[in-house]
Symmetry: C2
């Protein structure tokens, strides 16, 4: 199973974040939702063998973890505004006990470290200076860790590396998170046996 | 210069298309605007050596051509809602004479054939069955032709192929337009001399 984990450093943890201002008032929520689309959508249909997890660290009640499970999602659209509404519902659940707030969407109060422990089993940390993905032997069941438009903090990076993450780069230029997800998918798709 | 041309078969040609319903009422305008983001945005800043052209074929007044020139754009955001407002302004100009409706945005009434003739000089048609891009020698100044969520019609395909387009594929799965653009960029970025 392919998993992605995206850290939203300023992403709102309010269940009433503004749908009309995802980049501003919601703390670059557009980045997280575009990354989810890149993780889950094919031209025709969903990638059912994929999970994307978001760690939201903005005010007022961080940290939160929201997991989107491709095999169980229903009513998941390419429209990030619609998906933002699902995310708001997930943020309404602030308990440490994970709960399914909509089909295929799990919410809880959890830190990055706790999120990492629920994912795995292998980790790949996407970083510009990493080893070129085209030359890396990637574990089959990997969680790919990405950031929003801010680099991981030293503590966050330590948490990822402490779990034995491979450090992998995608090319010569720094990209938006969703485009990085699309590149990872393409590289892995090419390695599958298509018969 | 890298150029992309995206055909929006149902994309609205009304200067008052709804900003709150880009996927539905505006005719999958979200696809065109996400493709523009993938074409123009890096993590930090714009790709200045890129142009993306949209051919809009939906009601009420098709065909329209809107060109976004990376080197001349100002106030271009990652937020597709903001960019949709720029696109609405461009659609307010329905003359066959091309005019700059905002910095870096050119609008006119023009067909796909006319659009192709203003772009080029070489053409690459992205199609699932095409030759794998990783093994293709791509001309330096190419226009990459993509569709929205509908395949090109037979007539459209003929117009592209009549201009000697290479037919190139990106991988084993059909992708959203914006993710296809991201893959093309990455492949070309990797071929540049980074010294």
């Amino acid at each position: 199973m392919r998993r992605f984990l995206v850290i939203g450093h300023r992403a709102s943890t309010s269940p009433t974040f503004p749908l009309d201002d995802l980049p501003g008032g919601a703390g670059r929520m557009d980045i997280l939702l575009n990354a989810a689309n890149a993780a889950l959508h094919l031209a025709h249909g969903l990638r059912r063998d994929v999970e994307i997890a978001m760690v939201l660290l903005g005010p007022p009640d961080p940290p939160r973890l929201v997991r989107w499970l491709g095999h169980a999602l229903r009513s998941y659209q390419p429209d990030i505004r619609s998906n933002a509404a699902l995310l708001r519902r997930a943020l309404g659940h602030g308990s440490r006990v994970e709960r399914e707030t909509s089909p295929g969407i799990l919410a809880s109060k959890a830190s990055l470290e706790e999120a990492l422990d629920r994912l795995g089993p292998a980790y790949v940390y996407l970083k510009e200076s990493g080893k070129d993905i085209r030359g890396v032997d990637l574990p089959v069941d990997s969680t790919f860790v990405l950031s929003d438009n801010q680099d991981l903090t030293a503590d966050e990076e330590r948490a990822v590396l402490a779990r034995g993450a491979l450090v992998v780069g995608l090319g010569p230029l720094a990209l938006h998170t969703d485009h990085a997800v699309a590149l990872v998918h393409n590289e892995l798709d090419r390695r599958l046996p298509w018969t």
